[in-house]
Amino acid sequence: MTMALTNEIVKEKLVAKFGEQVTAFAEPYGMLTFEAPKELNLKVLNFLYDDEELKFRFLTDLQAVHYPEDKGRELAVVYHLHNLIDNVRIRFKVFTDISRPDVYTATGLFSGANWMERETYDFFGVNFVGHPNLKRILNVDEMDYFPLRKEYPLEDQTRIDKDDEMFGRG
């Protein structure tokens, strides 16, 4: 009987392996969250997958977030991983410069990452290097922008018939 896997053990193992390159450990609502440089994303994912104790072999979700204010690291690619045996979930983020949004693909490790990465590319323009078929998936092929980036407002900003000033969102 081995010890049940805890966030502390995951963190210790990651730090032992990657040292100061894994950062920003936090546990929002109990889920271990951390960051690594984007060049290391596959090394970290592989380590989490292969390690006999960690066994994070289920990719729950993969998507991006846009932080336009955070210069040099505007796009975050977020992986949610699950160890189904010990039932532990973790969240792993890599950040990238929006002018060079290249991130290695996880499709070699997870077949399920294929469409998740296509969706992330489609909406945020993250270029998943090595992806077998990186093209738009939900939007039309002719689209020439990445609609979930924050610079594309939902409503037409030229409208003058709506005055939201009173509601703190002018």
Binding site: V78, H80, L84, F110, L138, F167, R169
Partner: protein
């Protein structure tokens, strides 16, 4: 030597030995807006390319401009065969972010609704598998019980398909007497109907031949494709969010997690049938627990969260404080606390996840839906390669692909 090499093509003809067939985007056999570009060698599938997005409605973008309560109707339109589960999943996500603890009675009422939704979803999926293998009767027969489930929703929230049921913290109103009467009727009549439905197919030679061994996926591949829900369980992996990450007090209930062995169409069909039996017993159990509440506890249907739960209409007209809350909620003037949360429920199709990031503003900074259907539709080619085209149709149905969920 392939079977085509001996064919001498006339001068000038195109030397293509396979046929390209567009299955969809609107074809009666696909039960939704799906396009599959199939490359066929005779009737065998050589390759399949799926095109999705025909009904993409940009929910994730829309959500960035909406206060939390206005996101609920968007979730209705993901998997619209079981909208209440999506609604509850969203409420539970918000409650997790806001640290709201719901009363036990609310949890049990939610479980009743979610399990009814699971039954109605599985019912559609399994009866459609019947339709696609040539048996229409089952589909028509069980429709009346989906109708009864919809009537129960109607008593609770006023709508049937896109329900917008419940609120952050609980329900908009208590269940009325008619809702419970209809639930009684459902619990009394449905077991016999389900038994009959299963009997119609289970040992039917044609149905068995069409579904056994077709559209199979191994447990290993299913996990690698991030399968969840009945499709993963049919391959033999007993992963169920209700057990692994209990929400809404599922930990108070005992139920089995049925699993298959081969991951083929027949196993998926069987797993869904078994899950309907389990759902029935969960509903009965939850119903008994609801009846055990006495006195004021028996009237509780929401948590006390004035910032997010609309006050009684009567109070809005007579009390200043209620009027203020009403105004602030409706206008979306309440800042939600900053934080990021991933919360998931066992949707009828698998793990339905909500990844919500708040920067402390009035709307989500980012909201992502983990849609199980989107994730496993990509395995369709691998599951159908080399099989007959007619088997691919059955596979499409038994995976329970719902266009609304895939396209978000």
């Amino acid at each position: 030597m392939t079977e085509h090499e001996h064919i001498r093509l006339p001068e000038g003809s195109i030397e293509k030995t396979t046929t390209t067939l567009n299955l969809g985007p609107t074809h009666p056999a696909t039960h939704g807006v799906f396009q599959n570009i199939l490359e066929l060698d005779g009737e065998r599938i050589v390759s399949a390319e799926q095109t999705v997005g025909y009904i993409h409605r940009a929910f994730e973008k829309l959500a960035e401009r909406r206060p939390l309560y206005q996101v609920t109707p968007l979730t209705d339109r993901l998997n619209y065969c079981s909208s209440p589960i999506n609604n509850m999943g969203w409420h539970i996500t918000c409650e997790k972010l806001l640290n709201i603890k719901t009363p036990k009675r609310v949890d049990y009422l939610r479980i009743i609704i979610m399990e009814l939704a699971r039954i109605s979803d599985h019912l559609i999926c399994n009866s459609i598998v019947g339709v696609d293998t040539g048996a229409y009767t089952g589909f028509l027969y069980v429709m009346q019980y989906r109708e009864l489930i919809y009537e129960i929703y109607e008593e609770i929230c006023g709508s049937r398909l896109t329900t917008n049921i419940g609120r952050i913290g609980g329900f908009e109103r208590n269940f009325n007497v008619i809702a419970f009467q209809k639930l009684d009727k459902f619990l009394a009549e449905y077991p016999d109907v389900l038994k009959e439905f299963i009997k119609l197919f289970e040992r039917n030679r044609i149905f068995m031949e069409r579904t056994q061994g077709t559209g199979a996926i191994s447990a290993e591949r299913a996990l690698n494709y991030s399968f969840t829900g009945p499709n993963l369980r049919a391959a033999g992996v007993d992963y169920d969010v209700r057990v692994h990450t209990p929400y809404s007090s599922y930990e108070d209930f005992q139920f089995n997690v049925p699993v298959g062995t081969t991951g083929d169409n027949f196993d998926r069909w069987q797993v869904r049938n078994e899950e309907m039996w389990e759902s029935l017993s969960i509903i009965e159990h939850a119903y008994r627990k609801v009846q055990e509440f006495k006195g004021p506890d028996a009237e509780v249907f929401h948590a006390d969260v004035p910032e997010y739960y609309l006050p009684e209409k009567e109070d809005v007209y007579t009390k200043m404080e209620a009027l203020i809350w009403h105004f602030k909620i409706i206008m979306g003037e309440i800042n939600i606390p900053a934080g990021e949360v991933y919360s998931c429920v066992e949707g009828a199709n698998g793990e339905l996840g909500f990844y919500l990031i708040s920067d402390g503003g009035r709307t989500p900074y980012r909201l992502h839906f983990r849609r199980p259907g989107f994730i496993y539709y990509q395995a369709f080619e691998e599951m159908t390669k080399g099989s007959m085209m007619s088997d691919a149709i059955v596979t499409l149905s038994s995976l329970n692909l719902i266009a609304g969920e895939i396209d978000a």
